[in-house]
Amino acid sequence: MSNYNLTHLDELENESIFILREVFAQFEHPCILFSGGKDSIVVTHLAKKAFHPAKIPFPLVHIDTGHNFPETIVFRDQIVSDLDVSLIVGMVQESINSGRSKEERGKNASRNALQTNTLLDTIELHHFDACVGGARRDEEKARAKERFFSHRDQFGQWDPKNQRPELWNIFNGKHHDGEHFRVFPLSNWTEIDVWQYILGEKIQIPSLYFAHERKVIRRNDTWLPLSEYIQLDEKEVPLQKKVRFRTLGDITITGGYESDADTLEKIVNEVATARQTERGNRADDKRSETSMEDRKKEGYF
């Protein structure tokens, strides 16, 4: 700490805390979009730091497709109780039941895209004017231009060509009724930063990130976990493999890969030498080269 110098992780942490406090100061009804994945866990941890010793002044919002890893839900409920914050769950199943959303069909069907409607309905129902998410600019090329404070119109849409310029550390969260902001405190973090931070801060994460034995099938170049939501064809035989997951999404689309990394140290090393992007195993991004951008314009996370 000599010469008043910060490490890059300190600097990122300080920046994110600043953003979270701006959210609290500039909005009436902010929330944290909590998926149970590592990024939203880190955001939640940073929120704890930002408001200590007070508790986190935002509810956690989970958009639940119903196709979860059971571990994710257990983990979510534990965090909510540890932090003593409120949890709001938006159920994709309810959007389907009400006819608002239509279930996809076919072998690769997933409820991933259906989250958008449920998310927008949940935002409207609770009058959220700021939704804090864990997205990072290094994740995907459509995200590279996302602002920290990203404006959404009344339909929840993102207009990448008409974003507010963001200069210095001055954030403009002004909005009209019915509009909202998505806020991304981890914008400048990379995957390895997140893992190093989790290691350094000893942050609890779901067991799914660690290598473990599990029944999986081979599909689309990845090991998809066996679950009641997945339809197998005749040629697909479940195998027992030691795998881990690099991102967590729906159990139907989150591919694992073989790994022996069963401690945080090993994961950090593995990520540091990884040769594939973390979203490479996500079926939702593989659909087309611009699938993330198209989903984002409509209001996806």
């Binding site: 300080n14 310029p165 200069l167 210095w168 403009n172 490479g280």
Partner: protein, 419 residues
């Protein structure tokens, strides 16, 4: 691993005219530092094949959104990341297109360093001057001029030296102290991360070495203590019944428990009781740390107030002179009131006076035509509805900068640096 934990962060921005090779250079930096993943590389290989190219087109790594891919130009600021064992780098990739001064200003606003690209075949052109002027106006501490496409001029020293001289002749008028020049070929990789064998006459270091070793510790102001309060933290729990902390990010100087401070604008004085974080109390805190400060006295402090050292205070100002960049396609309305944001405080402001328009290519001050449009820079006098706690931008980039917001659309329409 420990090495990783001691890494510093460097933010830099890139500027150049269209086709000077900016995207290729960024692609080259990412590629040579092994920051490109296999699946990304495969995508780029596929796209390059489709275009009938023999080698993967490195510039495709920085391709952003669909519209741009279709138009083949970058239209906004995009951020890229890479790291070496020494530093993590954040690149604000800004387009070189004529009408996009605002993008460069956006990218430059948080940068410690600017890379300015020049095509060796064309030398210093009008846009080079524009980029250098913007970098200097935004007080980017370090400038690296990359003379690119040296392979197309047979790696000749003369060409490089002439470009360097031309640039220096012009930049002597600017307020930049640290300027370096590097002859490179982004396409082939000369002097980007590896020393070029074809330019033995060049004795300086590679671009990457330069980026890894720039002295950035003094880029923050650690002298003038400034703490703009973001929000007040009052847990109201049993354990913290009397806790009343002021949360914020230090904008300048070093704060310690026991320090005498003055609260602005009220002028009340008090002492720092503790500086708190979740990881425990701190003995000192400095820019740009986010902390929570408790005072020994029960004084009234709220968002927008600023804690300063009693013997070194910010200016309390209602008439504010700024260099403004207009960011919006709708011209300013002379009668309009704007919302002004400055650190954590907010007020209304009118544009009271346009003193001159600055030609960003020549630094010429135009007093004949004072009509302001998108991308124009102008020296302006603002009048605000309440006093703001300002420093000059030269002294402090955080307390010396403002934005203007349209009262009706809420869009950010202007950025200003306080003179």
């Amino acid at each position: 691993m420990n090495a990783y934990l001691n890494m510093e962060l460097l933010r830099f921005t890139t500027a150049g005219s269209v086709d000077d090779g900016k995207s290729t250079l960024i692609g080259r930096l990412l590629f040579d530092t092994k920051s490109i993943f296999e699946d990304q590389l495969n995508q780029v290989k596929k796209s390059s094949d489709r275009k009938g190219l023999a080698n993967p087109d490195l510039s495709l790594f920085t391709d952003g959104l669909k519209d741009e891919r279709d138009q083949g130009i970058t239209i906004d600021v995009a951020y890229r990341y890479f790291s070496t064992p020494k530093r993590k780098f954040i690149i604000a990739d800004t387009p070189g297109h004529i009408q996009y001064t605002r993008n460069m200003i956006t990218g430059a606003s948080t940068a410690n360093c600017a890379l300015i690209l020049i095509d060796a075949r064309h030398g210093v052109v009008e846009q080079t001057c524009r980029h250098a002027i913007i970098a200097s106006l935004l007080q980017i501490p370090h400038l690296i001029v990359c003379v690119n496409k040296m392979d197309l001029v047979n790696y000749q020293e003369d060409t490089f030296q002439k470009t360097k001289k031309d640039f220096e002749r012009f930049s002597s008028k600017l307020d930049v102290t640290d300027i370096r020049f590097i002859p490179i070929s982004a396409l082939i990789g000369d002097n980007v991360t590896k020393r070029s064998e074809k330019m033995a006459w060049y004795e300086g270091s590679t671009l990457l070495y330069c980026l890894e070793n720039l002295h950035i510790r003094s880029d923050h102001n650690h002298i003038d203590c400034r703490f703009p309060v973001q929000t007040v933290i009052r847990p109201k729990t049993k354990a913290y019944h009397d806790f009343r902390g002021y949360a914020g990010r230090i904008a300048g100087g070093v704060f310690k428990p026991g320090d005498e401070i003055t609260i602005l604008p009220s002028g009340f004085t008090s002492k720092i009781k503790t500086i708190d974080t979740l990881d425990g109390p701190l003995n000192e805190a400095f820019a740009p740390m986010s902390v929570t400060i408790q005072l020994t006295d029960d004084v009234d402090v709220s968002r927008g107030d600023m804690l300063v050292r009693s013997n070194n205070q910010a200016d309390l100002n209602q008439d504010i002179e700024i260099m403004m960049c207009w960011l919006h396609n709708q011209e300013p309305n002379p009668k309009a009131k704007y919302i002004i944001r400055h650190t954590t405080s907010e007020a209304k402001a009118i544009i009271k006076n346009v003193r001159y328009k600055l030609d960003v290519n020549t630094l010429h001050r135009n007093i004949e035509n004072l009509n302001i449009g998108m991308n124009d820079l102008a020296r302006i006098q603002l009048r605000t509805t309440k006093p703001l706690l300002t420093d000059s931008y030269r002294k402090n980039r955080t307390t010396g900068s403002i934005i203007l917001i349209d009262e009706n659309t809420y869009e950010t329409v202007a950025a200003g640096m306080i003179i």
